[in-house]
């Protein structure tokens, strides 16, 4: 039991790091291309340890993001828990995907994530420019191989 509790700390560290990266100030030209770090981290861990990190974790992280970004409460929570639900549902298939196919899947998941944000903004009457939605999707997809490599380093330390 104690070893399992120990193994939770590094993963928690990953989530905290993702949250920090999501609010760290970026130069103005880079701000529209900030990848959705929390979404990427969640996709990784819900494939690796779907029993422990699933929809509930995603929802809580989403609420924290909503507070940090000052968006409508529940917006990021809904979007994150939906893509985590999709990931957990198909985690067995996703585990055997080669990296190229997995990157395409991440592209689709991030697009779905941004679409939910876009949809909620639209209902709430906020209409920003579309590049704001495509920037994070492109950046996140390009970064996925690096992120998954880094997180698998953490994972082998956790599960071994």
């Amino acid at each position: 039991m104690s070893s399992r509790r120990d193994s939770r700390l590094p993963v928690l560290g990953c989530f905290v790091a993702a949250l920090l990266l999501s609010i760290v100030p970026l130069p103005e030209w880079a701000a529209p291309y900030r990848p959705d770090w929390v979404a990427l981290t969640l996709i990784y861990w819900s494939i690796a340890l779907p029993r422990r990190y699933s929809v509930g974790t995603a929802w809580l992280l989403g609420i924290v993001l909503d507070i940090a970004y000052g968006t409508l409460l529940g917006q990021h929570a809904l979007a994150l828990s939906f893509i985590t639900y999709l990931t957990v549902k198909f985690h067995l298939q996703l585990r055997v995907f080669p990296i190229s196919q997995m990157t395409l899947t991440v592209l689709a998941l991030l697009a779905v994530y941004q679409f939910i944000l876009f949809w909620i903004n639209g209902v709430a009457g906020i209409y920003p420019e579309l590049v704001i939605y495509w920037g994070p999707v492109a950046a996140g997809t390009l970064l996925w191989p690096i992120v998954s490599l880094a997180l698998s380093g953490v994972r082998y330390r956790v599960t071994s």
């Binding site: 999501s22 507070i67 409508l72 529940g74 917006q75 929570a77 939906f82 639900y85 906020i126």
Partner: protein, 305 residues
């Protein structure tokens, strides 16, 4: 229960949980959009997010500090000469200003009017800038503990920056005047025309959508706060009109303005408490007014002689 979860993981357990949480999210979304009773919850969790913001800000301020302390001698010398010139120019301006201020105080004393109410201001540092480019919100390091309140006006050295939309215990969120959701009652300084300046989502542009085609407004007009909304004290510069397009068949002119404050680059803002005169300033006023009162008397006495 645990056994069941372990045996059959792909059963709709996560699906059911997702549906519950999605319902909860939708409920929160609607509640947040329609009413403000979630504000206390927001504030509580916001206080928990505060250490995160400080943690993010720490390396940046450290980096800035290191950069400043290791700047090369040449740069420092350049800086020094630049600052010296700036100081001279500012001092020259300040001389004129203090002369004007003295004159103003004297005239007011003559009219026996109360000297203009001064506002108490306090400098607040910016902890973070909204990461959502379409929501122009800053987080500053003053909260309700320092007396900040929701709706409080914030300015910088050049002009109006925005107002506090959420006052937490230790930090507050400031909505910039360029946020698409922000509207600000303004007045054209030249003609006294009152209207509303609305944010556009771009740092360097405000719109004045409610002006009729024949309104008395020109490029280069200075816009100041009118004080009518109640949030902003009157007379602070908001921006300058940079384009006026009048299309004859449209009922309204298309007027845009450039904000006076450098919204994209602010580092510190000032919070204003309207109506609370700064005690030090008040004393200075009194001190300035008294010799002025004494002076005419002395002049009169000299005339008598």
């Amino acid at each position: 229960m645990a056994e069941h979860a372990q045996r059959s993981f792909s059963t709709p357990a996560p699906g059911l949980r997702f549906l519950l949480l999605a319902g909860l999210s939708l409920f929160l979304l609607i509640a947040d959009q329609r009413s403000d009773w979630l504000d206390t919850a927001r504030k509580t969790i916001g206080a928990a997010v505060y250490p995160m913001r400080v943690a993010v800000d720490a390396p940046i301020s450290l980096w800035r500090w290191v950069g400043e302390s290791t700047a090369s001698r040449n740069e420092l010398l350049l800086d020094l000469s630049r600052l010296e010139t700036e100081r001279l120019i500012t001092q020259a301006r300040l001389q004129r200003y203090s002369a004007l201020e003295a004159e103003n105080a004297r005239l007011r004393a003559m009219l026996e009017a109360r000297s203009r109410m001064r506002e108490r201001v306090q400098v607040a540092e910016i902890l973070s800038v909204s990461s959502n480019p379409f929501r122009h919100v800053l987080v500053v390091d003053k909260g309700t503990r320092d007396g900040a309140f929701e709706g409080q006006a914030t300015i910088d050295a050049q002009g109006v920056v925005g107002q506090i939309i959420e006052a937490g215990l230790l930090s507050s969120q400031v909505m910039l005047i360029s946020d698409p959701d922000h509207a600000l009652p303004v007045q054209v300084n030249r003609s006294g025309l009152r209207t509303i300046a609305v944010g556009t989502g771009k740092y360097d542009r405000l719109e004045l959508p409610f002006l009729p085609n024949n309104a008395d407004i020109e490029e280069g007009d200075l816009l100041v706060t009118s004080g009518l909304g109640g949030a902003f004290p009157p007379g602070y510069p908001v921006g300058t009109v940079d384009s006026v397009t009048r299309v004859p068949q449209n009922p309204f002119a298309e007027v845009t303005a450039k904000p006076a404050a450098e919204l994209g680059q602010v580092r510190e803002v000032m919070l204003i408490w309207p109506g609370e005169a700064e005690s030090e300033a008040g004393r200075r006023d009194a001190a300035a007014a008294e010799p002025d009162r004494a002076a005419p008397a002395a002049a009169a006495a000299a005339d008598d002689e």
